[in-house]
Symmetry: C2
Subunit: 228 residues, 2 copies
Amino acid sequence: MQGKKIAFIATDMVEEVELTKPWQAVKDAGGQPELRSIKSGEIQAFNHYDKSNKYKVDKEISSARMDDYDGLVIPGGVGNPDTMRMDQDAVEFVRSFFEAGKPVAVICHGPWMLVEADVARGRKLTSWPSLKTDIRNAGGNWVDEEVVRDSSRRASRTTCPRFARSSSRNSGRACTRASGRIQPPPRSGARAGVPCRGRGGGSSVGRAPGCGPGGRGFKSRPPPLAVA
Amino acid sequence: MQGKKIAFIATDMVEEVELTKPWQAVKDAGGQPELRSIKSGEIQAFNHYDKSNKYKVDKEISSARMDDYDGLVIPGGVGNPDTMRMDQDAVEFVRSFFEAGKPVAVICHGPWMLVEADVARGRKLTSWPSLKTDIRNAGGNWVDEEVVRDSSRRASRTTCPRFARSSSRNSGRACTRASGRIQPPPRSGARAGVPCRGRGGGSSVGRAPGCGPGGRGFKSRPPPLAVA
């Protein structure tokens, strides 16, 4: 993971913990996360239906090139992929990782992006349970498991990507799917709407007080993850 | 419509205007709307991603019988059908209207309920654009039109139900689909979280100051509606 560049794609209503936890796992493993969005400026993260912090977008997806990254993470939050899937640049960006056989980690509602890119077909996937029918209708093999690893179609693609299965305890715990609701993470203490800016790193997401993932854990029910 | 009983099904994150406008249209036409939900108490309506008013649930869906109603309305709001589609009682309730050939009006993200009930197959439908692929993968004929009427499979089922196509100007305008984002309705002036209770009617949804649909209109972009 050392020096590897990982694209995170997200927009408003991204589930905060599904952005911040994998982000921190990438950093802890020596990788370089970068936030791409369909909009510039900041995106509004949520804890389920409650607004939480805002996160600065590094670059827009429209200018993104898959060749510049070693992997892709797609967090959930119901409104996040619901909006991103209508953006052709975002859909093409996702598809390009599958075509190149690069590792992709998808969490919660994120697999709608795989449905939209028509790359769910023939894959074993899990997700937030509401997506079950959409994934199956798209030709995916949806299973009710905490973690799914799929490598059936891309020999070079790891199943649960190493950057999301690193030795980091937080990272490992992010690779699970719960059958119930997402439990919001512990209160951040940060005011909603306060931009979170990175400290001491190339990242613009993250470690301002209360904004970063430090110290947070999936104490009860971890968010779902589908790894394609 | 006089005396007809119309079931509205919704839960948290229902798009407020998609609940209140058709509701008022039913009342204006002499019908009796009733709010059924997968939970008791109140549901939290949204204006896109902003919390708005709460609405009192008349009864839970689990005790609902299709025979007790003359028609069904399924409002949108991304989190609303995303949650309801995981409730088997809600899905069966929707399916029963199609099996009986009773009129159903579906708005915005509402068609996910038709996908889940497997009643989209072979039907001409529209929706919020993000659902296009899910509807097509479910066998539906998704079209990018403002209003869709479908009667191909159920001779007894009207296309755009009369209660949603009444002479009410507001109602008629609710029967349209926009290609862009939903524009939130004018500010209600009511504080979020304040329960809205009906006035002078059997309904519990409604007309408290700022809560009801009175005076609101789709000034620019009306919400999508799929009529199945």
